[in-house]
């Protein structure tokens, strides 16, 4: 009996790949083009995938590398800041939570690509900080820093909290941060 073909698994990850691509490009059409490019690379390099390892992380890494490679090649980046992640989103009722969903999406698109990437990896996709660090080739402390800076920036853009809270000066956070510094020392 032959081993299962790992390529059969690729299709399962298409929805999450599209969501990740959209967070990077901020443009639905470009995101789907990026997914297509990444799929072609994944297909032709499937022999490099180690069965039993995380296919989703492998595909995300290919997509991310493709994005940055194309970005470097482009003379300038043309982004659809207002359309972006918000395009095609359904309207959610205004009463569902503190944040208006669409306003949040617009604010999210104002973050740097590095912050969006990390927030979607750990916040949206459910990867651990360790996995995100491995996928991006960035130190785990920097991954955490980017995530927290991104959250703070979002809160700032949404006018969600006063400056004291956003600067991580609330008592609970200060306690955690202090404990961490003590432990690290």
């Amino acid at each position: 009996m032959s081993d299962p073909d790992p390529r059969d698994e690729i299709v399962e990850h298409l929805p999450s790949l599209r969501a990740f691509a959209r967070s990077l490009t901020r443009n639905p059409a470009r995101a789907d083009d990026l997914v297509q490019d990444a799929l072609l690379k994944a297909w032709s390099n499937i022999h490099k995938f180690e069965p039993g390892t995380n296919m989703r992380a492998w595909l995300f890494t290919i997509l991310r590398n493709t994005f940055y490679s194309e970005r470097r090649k482009a003379a300038r980046e043309v982004e659809d800041v207002d359309g972006a992640f918000t395009a095609g989103l359904s309207e959610k009722p205004a009463h569902d939570g503190r944040l208006a969903f669409r306003d949040f999406a617009v604010a999210f698109n104002q973050l740097s690509v590095e912050q969006r990437e990390i927030l979607v990896l750990v916040g949206g996709s459910g990867f651990s900080y360790e996995e995100a660090a491995e996928m991006t080739g960035i130190a785990i402390g920097t991954v955490k820093s980017r995530a927290n800076r991104g959250r703070m920036r979002l809160a700032e853009l949404m006018g969600l909290s006063d400056a004291d809270s956003l600067d991580i000066t609330d008592q609970a956070t200060v306690a955690v941060m202090s404990a961490s510094k003590t432990a690290a020392a």
């Binding site: 299709v11 929805p15 095609g88």
Partner: protein
């Protein structure tokens, strides 16, 4: 531009604002995941399979 100062802790679990933000990020992500995949991807994978089979 923010400094890349390393922080060792995820503060989202202690700050309600940040917890709220994380929930919205999940919602935003889920919106795209649940919207369905365009037919072009199924066609593309099918084409790749056919090419593979014809080798």
């Amino acid at each position: 531009m923010y400094d890349e100062v390393e922080m060792d802790d995820d503060v989202s679990n202690v700050d309600p604002v940040k917890r709220d933000i994380d929930e919205k990020i999940r919602d935003l992500y889920r919106e795209t995941v649940e919207e369905g995949v365009p037919e072009r991807f199924a066609k593309m994978l099918e084409e790749l399979r056919k090419k593979e089979a014809s080798k």
